[in-house]
Subunit: 382 residues, 2 copies
Amino acid sequence: MQRDKLLMTPGPTMIPHRVRETMARQMIHHRTKEFEHYFEKMNEGLKKVFQTQNPVLTLVSSGTCGMEAAVVNAFSPGDKVLVASTGVFGDRFVKIASRFGLDVQVISVPWGHGVDPREIEDFLNGPKGEGVKGVFVTHNETSTGVANDLEGIGRLLNDRDCLFIVDAISSMGGMEVKTDEWGIDIVVAGSQKAFMLPPGLAFVSVSDKAWAAIEKSRLPKFYYDFLAYRKSLAEKTTPYTTAVSLVIAASEAIEMMLEEGLDNIYARHRNLAEACRAAVKAIGLQLFADEKHASDLITAIKGPEGIDIEKVRKTMNLQYDIMIAGGQQHLKGKIIRIGHMGYVDGFDLIRTLIALELSLSQEGFPIEPGTAVSAALKVLKM
Amino acid sequence: MQRDKLLMTPGPTMIPHRVRETMARQMIHHRTKEFEHYFEKMNEGLKKVFQTQNPVLTLVSSGTCGMEAAVVNAFSPGDKVLVASTGVFGDRFVKIASRFGLDVQVISVPWGHGVDPREIEDFLNGPKGEGVKGVFVTHNETSTGVANDLEGIGRLLNDRDCLFIVDAISSMGGMEVKTDEWGIDIVVAGSQKAFMLPPGLAFVSVSDKAWAAIEKSRLPKFYYDFLAYRKSLAEKTTPYTTAVSLVIAASEAIEMMLEEGLDNIYARHRNLAEACRAAVKAIGLQLFADEKHASDLITAIKGPEGIDIEKVRKTMNLQYDIMIAGGQQHLKGKIIRIGHMGYVDGFDLIRTLIALELSLSQEGFPIEPGTAVSAALKVLKM
């Protein structure tokens, strides 16, 4: 039987039928009351998901462009910024900020660990800490399965003359981000992760403190000039033709999220992550990420000694039609990563764990059939 | 009866069912053979539509970002460039290039007229012409209904050490662009016009001559760095997560275009334009654009003396469910614009003309019913 693929990757993720259906509709024009209805609905919903009173801007772009837009809108060449990098996506902030001529300071946290807010505090109080105008943190580092403590970092940045900028591309909508309460100035989210949407939109919230910096920024920009988006947003529109079908889909997906309830969504993801970790440990595998900072949205697992873990991943994909992710950069061939974000439930996780068991067994890794599933079911709230 | 809207606007345009259906499919991952199949199919098709051997890069963005990317990738601050502006979108090139610190020279053609290639030649041979590194031209200026003579301009630029950069956002796929033969170095196209797709993708072809300039450009960029896209394209992928559903839709839409045949598509658009102009003149209205440079894709019509043309446009929309466009900037309230680009045929045009007749009559403009339709039918190849 030719089965549909189940995506258990850290994006793109599965899309519910109710959302997919909207994208098959005939096109409508973007400068109409009809489109405005969807746009407003999306925007109001985004504020709830972001837990913010700030405007949330929508860019037609990949998440990376949202990260770049945060850098280019809020800073000027030579500005000193600090990136607390915990993996591939923290490093991407370093690359982008360096490319645009910022003075980039880096705290490189060993992969698999979360950043300790005290490390950031020590840096800012230390000899190189003077004049840091922005601190960049990845919320959910999908390359390692780590979630960073935004609340703790926000607390220590609150009284400083420094912007707090967060890549929540893969976390927003799946793990709680209290944008305003935690004092986050710019938050970037992506459509193709917990939002249950195709890739193509980046959502960016901007605080008053950030707007003040943006008005002073000397880096040139046009397409993603936040000031143009703010002006258009006040007129319930976008400066350039937006991705109409994706915005309509977003209004529907966010409606589904609000129907489920944000707290229920966060609890579902946390429960899936706990069940996944319990199952993985029950069959004798080791987690890659420090459990204190384990993500609710992605679980990174070390390949066991003597097992070709890339082959296991391929078997899961080719034989059982379940796509998970491998390791990136130096972790290639060393870890696998199971995404459990967005439109995913206990049945999807169980299916994934069965495929993992079977694929590991094929490689000679000894497992009593059903061990992972039993362990997961003891934890899962189905 | 609640009718579906017919979009006769200069984008977004109508989307055939066959293309819309692809976007309701379940998501697939972008780093897979399955996605590669669609991506390759789109890329091969794009080369045919662009009539080029150059790589055609796909950005997740509005068309405006494609224009900006052309500026930022190929030039450095202080570089002298010439924009031949024939309306809103020519002026946008001026704004973008100025924003990024280029030395922008402008030929401002009166709105409604096309640029005379000799004007460009005279400029380049004149006192300010020395050192011009790039000439920017809008192919199809939707704000005025004018199409510029790319072939003529290309011919005079051929032997010069100067890049020829074309905004073909609204024309590509609807009017012929012989990218290689006409010596165009960078061509930007958009998905939501003649390609019969939703907004969200920009397509950009880049010549060898342009690549040489790109390698020397000193303007910082990351998200739309063409060098990263070229590298990824060689590996049949994109540097960042692309808009999967739009790429799959594009592969389908371009397949439909190639099935119809590009020459047939160009002839269909030309015929629609001729019929539209004949009909408009038959009911005593005047064309806004100089007929020598009339676009095949959009017809701009002057509002007749004493008639509130904005009201006519609204009646067409609210009573007859046909959306056309009004005038932009100083032409607001003075012209209407009928788009006939992409998924549009003679029946759609006839429907539009009937609505135009009826809406004009309601405002007291005298028309013998059926005049426009008869005139159009004499020209239309249905």
